[in-house]
Symmetry: C2
Subunit: 405 residues, 2 copies
């Protein structure tokens, strides 16, 4: 696998995209994106488990069943969530408008929306935006699309990789957005991937859904599971590899790359959590089962007290052990070892569930880094899991206290 | 029932208490309390569900089984949690020291500790503190004891009430502490109640354990369930009522008062959450079952995004509906009504799962008050629940970023 720096979704065969300003954001920043594919692409998606699902989620859950997906349209600035029947009709109109403009069927369109909850979509702005966006798609538009998805994000999340399947070079690219209301359960706040691999819809589904539980579902910014989480992938087959139709070596190779790209995008979302000053990685090892490893890692990454300690660069490991304690995971409290690790330096701070004498100054130095790993060894089994998150800073409070309805 | 203003635990017949400075807190503030009862008091207690339990919790879980409980000793400044075998031995030494000083048996002592996790108790300080505290107990010491429990709390939580059972006046008084690491699951961060009612240990247990699920277990400051949560009550029988030994009218009357006092103490803890600028009450009505009502209320009170919106006095009801959505409660997303209520003013902000046109200025005025209620009507059944919490402010981050190991 090669990482293709400076490449983006439109560097995948057959993909065109655009990102424009449609006036939904008061700031005038880009707020509408189209990702379109040539050919007859198959797709797979995972959506939020929140019982309160946004209108575009309900629509896209239907459309994803269609054998072909030609395009994803994304608007930021309005989530079209908690908008009732009118919101539902608006989501349909949005899909129809894009379909007409692109010359495809309505059910071949996936709609993603992100932004304020509970406000009806401004149709006088979004309709012209859809028309403009669809008319502007090009093989240069990938970066604009990545920008147009963002809300309080501070940078674009994008990654493009290539790998070989059956002698053919396959490209796989994704763009994502995150920032706040990030505690995905099934899907995540908007992640769109495109690839030119040739694969059946069933096999794409199998590969994609499995990835999500170890990538997006393992990040948390604030414990709030959004109404709009969506991760979607479309595969247009234009790379010309022999079509993947079973769990063979080609499938496994593809899935490995898919896990990599989804995990990296998930980490970028965690790193750019609202107000975040650092990326925290929590690795739980030697758990009695996978569920316990995951519960444990997610409990620590979600703990407000632990997150504040990281913001303050305070090696307060007791809060970590406390969060392990209330995680509902299976473990022996008297076996747990904890270390901090960053940039080649490791310091053990707890052993067998108790503190050890450690060099507080060295620990603080490690915590000063922008990416810090917490290693939790349960010494109780053979399963492991990693979760990603960020610290809790004044800026998280500022961003979410000021963000106005 | 009468609320006895300016009365405290030592106004209950037979109760003596003290609160002193033992040097555990660097600030020199009071950090050790004793609550002692004459007679042969029965007791009941609920402890944290966190799997990582502090040494005093493990000790007190044994001691509470004893038919008689003569005293509760409380230290702040060190939680004696994650301190292994040495911590366990220290907890035993603490209980033994108090028992010797008070002339009672070791198993008649309940030990509560709160403060930093993972640091061994400074026995050279705590032993003299226990001796001094036990020698100073008096019928004037109630307020000092309430003060000595506190950590980052900004005010004492105490409440005293009286009521009549079988022609006898009963007094019931409680003191509590909260502030951070507050998301009780079974018990809460240190609450001690005393009463002179005559009741069997079985009946006291029955009444007390039932109360906890609708009071302490319904508050959240930060979603972090502590390693040290304890709520304990002792009843010394000195009021002279005919002993309660079954679920009769006297029992019901006592339980009603007990629910009241525990709920009020729980609300005081929520109000004084770390960095809190206001008390938030979330009332969920017409849920299909009690579990759904509670899940729903607790999910909203825990949501960081909702808490930030309250700090910013922003009527961002979409975040509330989002938190209802991921609560795992049973409900119909298209039936939910939401209103804000405070100081006689009510404003409906959502109806049938959708926003309604509302006067944003009036909503903001309501949110400016120091106590705000969120009313969530699920219109789906007959069960209700209330949860209490606070907003998430810059000060929460400051307190927990600076709090040093």
């Amino acid at each position: 696998m090669k990482i293709l720096k400076n490449k983006t979704i439109t560097d995948v065969n057959g993909i065109k995209a655009s990102g424009i300003s449609g006036g939904l954001k008061k700031s005038g920043k880009k707020d509408f994106a189209v990702i379109y594919s040539e050919g007859n692409p198959v797709s797979s998606a995972v959506f939020t488990n929140n019982k309160v699902k946004a209108a575009p989620i309900l629509l896209s859950m239907e459309h994803i069943k269609n054998p072909i997906t030609k395009a994803i349209i994304v608007n930021s600035g309005n989530a079209n969530a908690c908008t009732g029947q009118i919101g539902m009709e608006n989501a349909h109109i949005m899909a129809q408008t894009a379909a007409d403009e692109l010359g495809v069927k309505k059910e071949e369109i996936i709609v993603q929306s992100t932004g304020i909850i509970g406000v009806q979509m401004d149709m006088e702005k979004i309709i012209p935006a859809i028309k403009k966006g669809c008319s502007k798609i090009s093989t240069d538009g990938g970066n604009d699309a990545a920008t147009a998805m963002l809300t309080t994000d501070t940078f674009e999340k994008k990654l493009t990789v290539s790998f070989e399947v059956g002698g053919k070079e396959i490209t796989l690219a994704g763009i994502a957005k995150g920032s706040g209301m990030i505690h995905p359960d099934m899907g995540t706040m908007l992640s769109s991937l495109v690839t030119d691999i040739s694969i059946s819809k069933e096999m794409l589904d199998l590969a994609f859904k499995d990835c999500v539980s170890s990538s997006y579902n393992m990040i948390s910014v604030d414990g709030d599971t959004s109404t709009n989480d969506t991760a979607v992938i479309i595969a247009n087959g234009l790379a010309g590899n022999s079509k993947i139709e079973s769990v063979d070596d080609d499938f496994k190779k593809f899935k490995e790359v898919l896990i990599y790209i989804n995990t990296e995008l998930a980490k970028l979302i965690a790193k750019d959590g609202e107000g975040a000053t650092k990326l925290i990685e929590v690795e739980v090892t030697n758990a009695v089962n996978l569920e316990s490893a995951r519960k444990c890692a997610k409990s620590v990454i979600r703990s407000s007290l632990t997150k504040c300690a990281f913001f303050g660069e305070d090696p307060n490991w007791g809060r970590i052990l406390c969060a392990v304690g209330y995680s509902n995971a299976e473990f022996d409290p008297n076996k747990i070892d904890i270390s901090f690790f960053s940039e080649g330096e490791r310091i053990q701070i707890a052993k067998d569930g108790m503190g050890v004498d450690f060099d507080v100054e060295k620990a603080k130095e490690i915590l000063l880094n922008k990416e810090v790993k917490v290693e939790i060894d349960l010494k109780d089994g053979e399963h492991s899991a990693i979760a990603w998150g960020c610290d809790l800073s004044y800026d998280y409070v500022r961003i979410n206290g000021e963000y106005t309805t």
